[in-house]
Symmetry: C2
Subunit: 419 residues, 2 copies
């Protein structure tokens, strides 16, 4: 193909943008954001709208026991594996208009493009809305995709806790999305288009990111116990200052993590200092550590360094420390053939891409445990997300969707990988 001749676009960027803005009216916030917490009335309205649009596009709609919605454009053979495309319609309490919803509506736009192309694909193409990705009202997050891949058993009420005590299944049935139809087809591949939620693509001046995988995440809780003492009467040598121990741990471990690899991400997000009195040496600190890296060995090394330093701080600060692992999610590597397929689509369109890891977890992290999976990122202005100011330019939305649709088409025609 001559690189100077651009092929016609299959998808309609304006139609997708209009859909995004219509969806954003549900749970709209004053400064342009959205609040559509999972299984609220707003979530039900968003689901209803998606189902209506999917049916208008000729899809057959089914709902599984986790409330995941599958909108299927059938393929040539009932037995062939499905190509799945999706993400989530729920948002953070002060969420934006793009996080999650872009991937669902771009899936729908892909189906419409296939309809308009009049093509019958080998594989069915199924657009999915996963339940409670954000994990705000129910914990853990990524609930729907976790249930789909078998990480959470259905109707195991102990597996999903309602934050604030609201139970999951009653809420799911209340909004009319407690289904019973499980998708039994094999999955040829899962594609998820998502906003980056970080600054890398914007800085690189690239419209489309091909996601190599998802960083592993390890959450630790560190408790330090020293002794509450009078700030005026207690000499330095008699102090067992839990906050000084915490501060040293934070400074030293950031240095260690970035020395190992400057792509390492280490965050001390929750730090509680007690008793919290201006003239009392703090006797207790609880702090959390969020570690992210693409290599398990790197996560292990910093995890071990933290445990060693906590022991060392007992000697130097007189403070007892304990470390508890709260969560440990292994890194995910996306399917190489699907990444190449996405790059081929972008190259056809003359759209520059770059490869990058995902710092955040996504439903694709779950899907990758059972099927070939891939993600496409589009830029987030200033890297901002989980915020009403979240923004992606219309051109990036349109480019991301077009690259997605072409990749899905090729995959659904049986031209990707061994399927």
């Amino acid at each position: 193909m001559n690189a100077h001749v651009r092929p016609p676009r299959l998808t309609d960027g304006d139609r997708l943008w209009s859909n995004l803005m219509t969806m954003a009216e549900i749970g709209a916030l004053p400064h342009g954001g959205c609040c559509r917490l999972a299984l609220t009335d707003e979530d039900r309205q968003a689901r209803d709208l998606f189902v209506r649009w999917a049916r208008e596009a000729g899809c057959e709609v089914s709902v599984d026991p986790f409330g995941n919605i599958f909108a299927t454009r059938s393929g040539r053979s009932r037995d062939a594996a499905h190509v799945l495309v999706g993400s989530h319609l729920d948002t953070q309490p002060h969420g934006g208009r793009f996080d999650g919803v872009l991937g669902v509506l771009a899936g729908l736009e892909t189906v419409r493009a296939l309809n308009e192309l009049g093509v019958e694909t080998e594989h069915a193409v199924t657009v999915v809305n996963w339940t409670n990705e954000e994990g705000v009202r129910f914990s853990p997050g990524l609930t729907g995709s976790g249930g789909f891949v078998g990480a959470i058993r259905s109707y195991d009420t102990s597996a999903i806790s309602g934050v604030g005590g609201v139970p999951f299944y009653p809420e799911l049935h209340r909004i009319g999305y407690g289904g019973s139809t499980r998708l039994t087809a094999r999955i040829a591949g899962y594609y998820e288009l998502h906003i980056e939620q970080g600054p890398v693509l914007e800085r690189a001046g690239v419209s489309v990111g091909v996601v190599e995988g998802v960083q592993g995440v390890r959450w630790l809780s560190v408790d330090f116990t020293g002794e509450d003492r009078h700030a005026g009467t207690t000499p330095a040598r008699d102090r067992r200052d839990a906050f000084m121990a915490a501060a040293r741990l934070a400074v030293d471990m950031r240095t260690a993590a970035l020395a190992l690899d400057d792509a390492f991400r280490i965050t001390f997000g929750r730090v509680s200092v007690e008793p919290g009195s201006i003239n009392t040496v703090p006797g207790r600190v609880n702090m959390t550590v969020d570690l992210r890296h693409s290599e398990v060995s790197h996560l292990d090394r910093i995890d071990e360094a933290i445990r060693r330093e906590v022991v060392a701080l007992h000697g130097t600060e007189g403070v007892e420390g304990t470390v508890e692992r709260l969560m440990d999610v292994a890194p995910v590597r996306f399917d190489p053939a699907m990444q190449a397929n996405i790059e081929t689509s972008a190259a056809e369109l003359g759209i520059a891409t770059s490869r990058l890891p995902s710092g955040a977890m996504h439903d694709a992290s779950n899907l990758a445990t059972v099927a070939p999976s891939a993600m496409i990122f589009v830029p987030s202005r200033d890297g901002i997300s989980h915020n009403e100011n979240e923004w992606t330019d219309p051109i990036h939305v349109a480019d991301g969707c077009e690259v997605l649709a072409r990749a899905v088409l090729r995959h659904a025609m049986g031209d990707v990988g061994p399927h």
Copy 2:
């Protein structure tokens, strides 16, 4: 004097101990401590008991507009300056049996000893109970002594705020201690016996500490503003992590303070980290700094170092910082002649002493601004105070009181300083 012949004791340590334990029944807590917050019914009961005991000891009792109680054993001349002895009867919410109350009841024991000695002193001896030293229910603390020395104007309702909204003067009148008699006599000297509330004397194996002065105290509030960002998607170079700035400030400033003088006391007591989410880079931190040293120049140097580092952290961490001074109390130096007088008393008794600064503020800090003042410390077991486990051994209580009484007697006879 032959060092092996001990003079008879003037004071009765058993009687003082018994008084302390009787007083401790008022507001008694389950684990041996006391809760007698200023101007509560418990404070009134404690005051009533003190007044009864003082009258039984032949004292004339008066109350001033701040509720300070003066119990006077008159001297030879009505015009001669008074020797004041005192402390406070109010406690912390989980206070002990010794903090404050020891100084008041040892003053009373001194008066009884003078009575039993049958001596008429040159100067009157006045035992004082200062109102609201602890500052728990009303702010600022050291209220009564502050009012006495003119730092707080009487009936200036804006000068004393009720924590929780309870106003000072109505409470004072409610418990019957809103007086109108101001002590107009000149003050020959003010003596305060107090528990150390720190570990220095216990470690030195000494019963009596001669306090050289009170460290200066400076309180700062430091605010850091960075940006809340996703812990997974935000690379290190894009972070403006307010907690990392706070941690570096704490580590570096402790190092700087102890390098200047290992007697420096620096405490980061209140640290609030927002938004406090495990997977969000913290965008805001407020932390307090409590700086204590005997030299103003040392306090200035660390204060300036903190301000310089906050500016530097803008460059290295991308975090905006502001520093506000919440309080600044200059160091106090106690009267050299009175310190020598206390040491003479101890030497007569064969009691070892050592000189030390006071890390905490006391009513004597206020008195020193208007009259020669001195403090005597006795050991606190494990340095613990503001705690139900606060403890001082009976022998230390008795030694401290005897040293006090002998010093007061010599001073009241006109044998100390230029008075």
